[in-house]
């Protein structure tokens, strides 16, 4: 699998041009492209330009509304709902986060539920908007039902990511952006492309049996929650995924559980949906809600420095703080360009042809 490095700026403009052709406003196209490219820059290849095709498919099927009329209703001084009018989540989530930050500046914390939305890309983009305001950010979303509850054998939950980020002073911010499943689908896709089997504890086949097959999700298989099995705490991973689902779907009036309209092409939406679209939950806390901000930042620096010097496990250089690997990747890719696998590159060129846009990075 060879790859070609392409500058993020080129890809961003390219995505933007396509989304404008699909009916997005310049502002929404720009924001969407920014979210996708942030994923590519941070090394989350599964959530970057590789996903553009999926978004285009949903725009064309009418699931994503390119010209949404989003309505925000504030019901409490720290809480409000954004009905996203079937917007792409790449747009609804950051706009909701800005509302949350406004409320947070007023009363110390702010929370926005988002209903009637679609796939929002990487959670970190939205949560990290808080960092610019020296605030703590939180973002979560439900997603295509692919994960079985602990003790179950049915696809009921998405990989339901949650992201929490906390600013420091001189050190990099703490940015935890994690799926609540043992492995995200992207990891199975990579194993598939490399012709590798997957480890026990990632997935089950459609009858609930153990499997090493990376293509199992396309055969009715399911992902396992973080913890993998009952002995290692799968009920905790299930609980976390359920928390994210309830906050994203139940609180806001979006769909939840098995009713979440799928992003992946091999699933179909279920009938009798109880809510609107998919849901997200975003919000923030002020960093100085308990004590002086400089004191908090100083301790945050010390926390990070102490944890970096943890005695490493055998064969490991040092313990990485959540967010560090993505930061280093971002720095590298911003300078060298984003490595686009040749198969994906061919694919992007085909898309370019469809829109009669030259693809000359």
């Amino acid at each position: 699998m060879g790859f070609t490095r392409i500058k993020a700026d080129f890809l961003k403009d390219w995505v933007e041009t396509i989304l404008v052709q699909e009916g997005f406003s310049q502002e929404h196209a720009n924001l969407s492209a920014d979210v996708l490219l942030m994923a590519d820059l941070r090394g989350i290849d599964s959530h970057g330009v590789a996903r553009l095709e999926g978004y285009i498919r949903l725009i064309r099927s009418g699931q994503i509304n390119p010209k949404p009329n989003m309505v925000f209703t504030q019901r409490k001084k720290s809480m409000g709902l954004l009905n996203a009018d079937s917007a792409i989540g790449l747009v609804s989530a950051p706009l909701a986060m800005l509302k949350a930050i406004e409320m947070g500046k007023e009363v110390g914390s702010g929370w926005v539920g988002i209903s009637n939305s679609n796939h929002f890309g990487i959670a970190a983009y939205h949560a990290m908007l808080a960092l610019e305001h020296s605030m703590i950010g939180l973002a979560m979303t439900n997603a295509s039902p692919l994960v079985t509850p602990a003790g179950g054998s049915e696809r009921m939950l998405g990989t339901n990511p949650l992201c929490i980020c906390i600013p420091a002073a001189e050190e990099l911010p703490f940015v935890l952006d994690m799926a609540t499943s043992a492995a995200a689908n992207g990891k199975l896709e990579i194993a598939d492309r490399l012709g590798k089997s997957i480890p026990r504890g990632w997935a089950l086949d459609n009858s609930g049996g153990e499997t090493n097959d990376p293509t199992i999700l396309k055969q009715g298989g399911m992902l396992l929650p973080l913890g993998s099995d009952s002995e290692h705490g799968a009920h905790k991973g299930f609980g976390l995924g359920a928390w994210v689902d309830i906050f994203s779907g139940v609180l806001s009036g979006a769909n939840y559980g098995p009713w979440v309209p799928p992003f992946v092409q091999f699933l179909h939406a279920q009938n009798d949906q109880p809510g609107l679209g998919i849901g997200h939950f975003v919000g923030c806390w002020e960093l100085d809600g308990f004590r002086d901000i400089q004191a908090v930042k100083k301790d945050m620096d010390q926390w990070i420095r102490r944890f970096k010097t943890t005695v490493p496990a055998s064969g490991i250089e040092r313990v990485m703080i959540p967010g560090e690997p993505e930061y280093f990747e971002h720095k590298k890719r911003a300078s060298l360009g984003i490595p686009i696998e040749n198969s994906l590159l061919q694919h992007l060129k085909l898309i370019s042809d469809q829109y009669s846009i030259p693809f000359n990075p």
Copy 2:
């Protein structure tokens, strides 16, 4: 291992009497006893009367102040700090939660950081106070450093539990109360008492090697984060434990990471502590911050009912919703009494003798 069933009311009065003898006010002794007995009722034997001896030890060593002068400072409309003046966490955490609920009633959400505190028992007690107000509750705490970060081989974090609870209408509330390690110390103690080995993925020995020894923590060993190894997402469990540590310790000005003063007797406090005591973080959201409360509760009921009917895994009767096992145990133990293991029973009688209190359940 035989056991005797003892009524919760008797044990609660008994704990209260002892704490009053140790200098607690009647109110604080009553609240502390209520938290401990709630753990026993819910089947969390490791956090109930079995822990009384540990609390007494810390009262006598001066780490727990029986007559604290706790000071609450509200810095934002939704955020404030409780300096617990070395109170037992069994008292500081529920009182802080009541402050959070007051703020939540005003602005939709409320958050209290607690510094200078001590072990707070089960997180669920504090978070569940929100349920009585139809609110969502959150509680977390840091704890004795016993868990290694992913990629590390050093005891840096506690089992750092987090609890989130969400009310329903006719169904039981959702109550997720989980340690962020693969297994809590209590599980190793149980294996030890039963003469069983522990599974791979729970702990490492003091040099970072794999182990099946349930006594390994007393030999310098360490617990593993939820996810257990790099292939199964240990960096996620580490990230969650770190989140809880930062929210509990760094934000509030309590200690964090390896500096958290230990509750377990086989660890000693480290020098140069950066903060005060141990820290907690509690708070709540209004259930109707995004839309009508009846609509949310109805969907919550439907969420629970749908997940209960998940196709079960082979050999499993049905999927349990977080909080259900503890609820059923509570119901059973409230009626039949709490099963106290004979060795613990002897121990409680010895304590009773020390205080010249009859132990006649």
